[in-house]
């Protein structure tokens, strides 16, 4: 898509931007009276231009399947639908042929969809002003489908009064089995079925008007993506002969976006079905290397770097073990310059996830790497009998007399000599070379003195193994949710998660400033607190914020000390944000790391700047 953009004078642009921002920030005053509105065309061949009071006309759908919402004041409103000009089909402002003029009454804090369908089919003779049927569909749209599910709302837009149709949504099996009937609804014209939650996957939709014959041939194919909400509009236009044929199309209402590495998500990340939970892993340990994540012993995420969020992992509901390893284990010099990987104990947590829930697991804390090269070695001495005396001599005059099993750490590498003695047993001597960063395991079993066996037999066993280093200081913090909530019209949702163990408890606020900016000179309209005294490892609740540029502030809890703030932070209408608190490991300076968790599509340019 090539976009040609004419740059207006800078001053004019800034003036318009200021006006737009002022309008955006005035939304708090109108919050209770704001509604989101869009137009969906069901079976109208031509594009439709929408004209609302006080705003420039726009195309109902710039992209098929993705009609964007616009923000309007609740209450009665006249909506004018026009045909685009034939000589300028992409210019809504050039439209002049009126298709319909409707008066609608919108409730506040709702998402409203005006469904426009034709009463003639595409096979009918072309008309510049086909007769239309309209239907206003209103819902709150407050959450995305949980886990590996999609949600589906089906509406019957057109048809004669009293028309009733049966609609079947069938899951298409991956094998040759016949599709299974998953969802069946009976709808009258101008009615919608309650939103249903279905496992993501391929489906087909069939409409029957006489109880036996599918009216859509072939059936409408639906590819329902996880974490996505859809509306399917069915209409029943007449064809040229006067017969009724069903038409159906799907549009997206909201979605949970995936991070960029979605394209390389492993195959086992595909949904398993309805009884699933969704899981994300976020790496927020500044000094830890990139990590691999295993869920129940199976590789799930590879090479997750600091500040990154994994793709969505779908797991069956129930108990799961999450293990985190460094992506590239540190290597240390062993012996004559040979290098080998140092085994690290994983950071582990166990989650119990209910069906339909989602959870975020955050790797936080400071990485404590294995000792540097040239450090000491470790010696594990096991002796039998257990009360035998061990005399250990080593480099630099090291000498120790010990009794029983010993685990000695940080010894100077070099040659050692262990003498083991016990009354009634044949003494033994063992020499070993203690290596740096290595644990040597020596097991010596003395033989009892026997009168008839003057030659003493000594069983000796030597094992060398790496003593696993640890990631002491690192931890996995789970945050479970029932799903990604969606903001009310004209708002964004924001949540802050305190994931920095070295940072003091915080008061978290969004400063709503006049003109949407965060300059010091701008008056503060309101300071909306998300949480007070928020300590590690807790999250704030999701809090609604009017769309616009605001400041996200972190205060030292209970004080007037501003620890950190994000100025001129654009909160977009219809977007759900999470901000993770992170800290520099050396200076303890705070950073905020954003993630977009959910999006409701708005018309291009509708987002306040």
């Amino acid at each position: 898509v090539t976009r040609t953009r004419v740059r207006p004078p800078v001053a004019l642009t800034r003036s318009l931007a200021a006006l737009a921002l002022a309008w955006a920030v005035s939304l708090p005053v109108l919050a209770a009276e704001v509604s989101s509105f869009r137009v969906v065309t069901a079976d109208v061949d031509d594009a439709v231009v929408v004209q609302l009071p006080g705003r420039a006309p726009f195309l109902a759908e710039a992209v098929p399947g993705l009609p964007g919402f616009v923000l309007v004041e609740a209450g009665p409103m006249v909506v004018t639908l026009l045909l685009p000009a034939t000589d300028a089909p992409d210019d809504p402002a050039a439209a002049s042929t009126v298709l319909a003029r409707l008066e609608i009454d919108l409730e506040g804090a709702t998402y409203a969809t005006l469904v426009v369908s034709s009463t003639t089919s595409s096979g009918a003779p072309p008309s510049r002003a086909p007769p239309l049927a309209t239907y206003l569909l209103v819902e709150e749209l407050d959450a995305l489908p949980p886990g590996a599910n999609a949600s589906l709302q089906i509406a019957l837009a057109g048809g004669e009064g009293g028309t009733v149709v049966d609609i079947d949504v069938r899951r298409v099996a991956s094998d040759d089995r016949s599709p299974e009937a998953t969802l069946a609804v009976t709808l009258a014209a101008g009615r919608a079925a309650p939103r249903a939650v279905l496992p993501a996957g391929p489906y087909e939709l069939l409409v029957t008007t006489d109880g036996t014959t599918p009216s859509i041939s072939p059936p409408l194919a639906l590819d329902l993506r996880p974490g996505t909400a859809y509306t399917v509009v069915v209409s029943l236009p007449h064809d040229a002969s006067g017969a009724v044929a069903a038409v159906a199309r799907a549009v997206i209402d909201a979605v949970r976006p995936e991070p960029p590495q979605l394209a390389t998500a492993p195959a086992d990340a595909t949904p398993h079905g309805a009884e699933t939970a969704a899981l994300h892993v976020v790496h927020l340990s500044p000094d830890a290397p990139p990590v691999d994540v295993l869920v129940d012993g199976r590789g799930a995420v590879r090479d997750l770097a600091f500040l990154s969020r994994s793709h969505t992992l779908f797991v069956p509901a129930g108990r799961h073990e999450v293990r985190v390893y460094p992506h590239r284990p540190p290597r240390r010099t062993v012996g004559e310059g040979a290098r080998r990987a140092v085994a690290l104990e994983p950071v582990v947590t166990v989650l119990n996830l209910a069906a339909g829930t989602s959870a975020t697991v955050v790797l936080t804390g400071s990485y404590e790497p294995p000792p540097d090269e040239g450090g000491g070695g470790h010696l594990s001495l096991q002796v039998d009998p257990a009360d035998a005396t061990v005399t250990l001599a080593g480099p630099r005059g090291y000498r120790a007399v010990l009794r029983g099993d010993q685990f000695l750490v940080g010894l100077e590498p070099g040659p050692y000599r262990a003498e083991v003695a016990r009354a009634g047993y044949v003494g033994a001597t063992y020499e070993l070379e203690l290596l740096p960063q290595t644990t040597s395991l020596v097991s010596i079993t003395l033989q009892e003195e026997q009168p008839d066996t003057p030659t003493t037999e000594v069983e000796e066993r030597l094992e060398r193994l790496d003593r696993p280093a640890t990631w002491r200081g690192l931890e996995l913090q789970p945050y479970a949710d029932t799903g990604a909530p969606l903001p009310p019209p004209g708002h964004a949702l924001v949540r802050v998660v305190h994931t920095a163990p070295t940072v003091t408890p915080l008061d978290v606020a969004v400063a709503l400033l006049a003109a949407g900016g965060a300059d010091d000179a701008e008056p503060l309209l309101e300071r909306r607190f998300l949480a007070q005294g928020l300590g590690f490892p807790n999250p704030t609740p999701y809090t609604s914020v009017p769309a616009g540029d605001h400041a996200l502030e972190l205060w030292v809890a209970g004080t007037r000390t501003l620890l950190h703030e994000l100025t001129r932070l654009p909160f977009l209408a219809g977007v759900t944000y999470i901000f993770f608190v992170s800290a520099d490991p050396r200076t303890n300076e705070v950073w905020l790391v954003p993630v977009v968790e959910a999006v409701i599509p708005h018309l291009r340019g509708e987002a306040p700047r």
Binding site: V1, P260, V593, P601
Partner: protein, 141 residues
């Protein structure tokens, strides 16, 4: 026994045939080279378009975090892990989408410049972040 002239004619026919084939292949190759293939991730896919919107929102928030973090430091630690990794995330968002539209291509180029400035400790990195923010605000995806 065939005359020499017939061999010449056959040889000439073979040469002409080879020339015709080479010409056709060359024209085809030229057409293929000059034809701009459609951008992958067709923008008519509503899922991808909404993904662009989400990425734009996240990039805007990342840049605000980067700008605020750098601006409030008395001695900006440009080479610290947070600035670098925040810039990496912005770059990743742009790079994986740059095939979708010229807009993301431009952003990816500017992000690369911003990231290199941050990595090299250039104090002009803050300006680069601010410029990128302005581009986002001026032409939202």
């Amino acid at each position: 026994m065939p005359r020499i002239g017939s061999y010449v004619r056959r040889f000439r026919a073979i040469i002409v045939t080879m020339l015709v084939v080479a010409t056709v292949a060359g024209v085809a190759a030229l057409l293929e080279a000059t034809h701009e293939p459609p951008l992958p991730g067709a923008s008519s896919d509503p899922h991808l378009l909404l993904d662009d919107v989400a990425a734009g929102a996240e990039v805007a928030a990342l840049l605000a975090s980067l700008r605020s973090g750098l601006a409030t430091r008395t001695t900006p630690d440009l080479a610290g892990s947070h600035p670098r990794r925040l810039a990496d995330r912005v770059a990743a968002a742009a790079e994986v989408r740059q095939a979708r539209s010229p807009w993301w291509q431009i952003v990816a180029q500017e992000v690369a410049d911003m990231r290199s400035r941050i990595a090299s400790g250039d104090v002009a990195a803050l300006d680069a972040v601010a410029q990128l923010e302005e581009r986002l605000r001026a032409d939202w995806p």
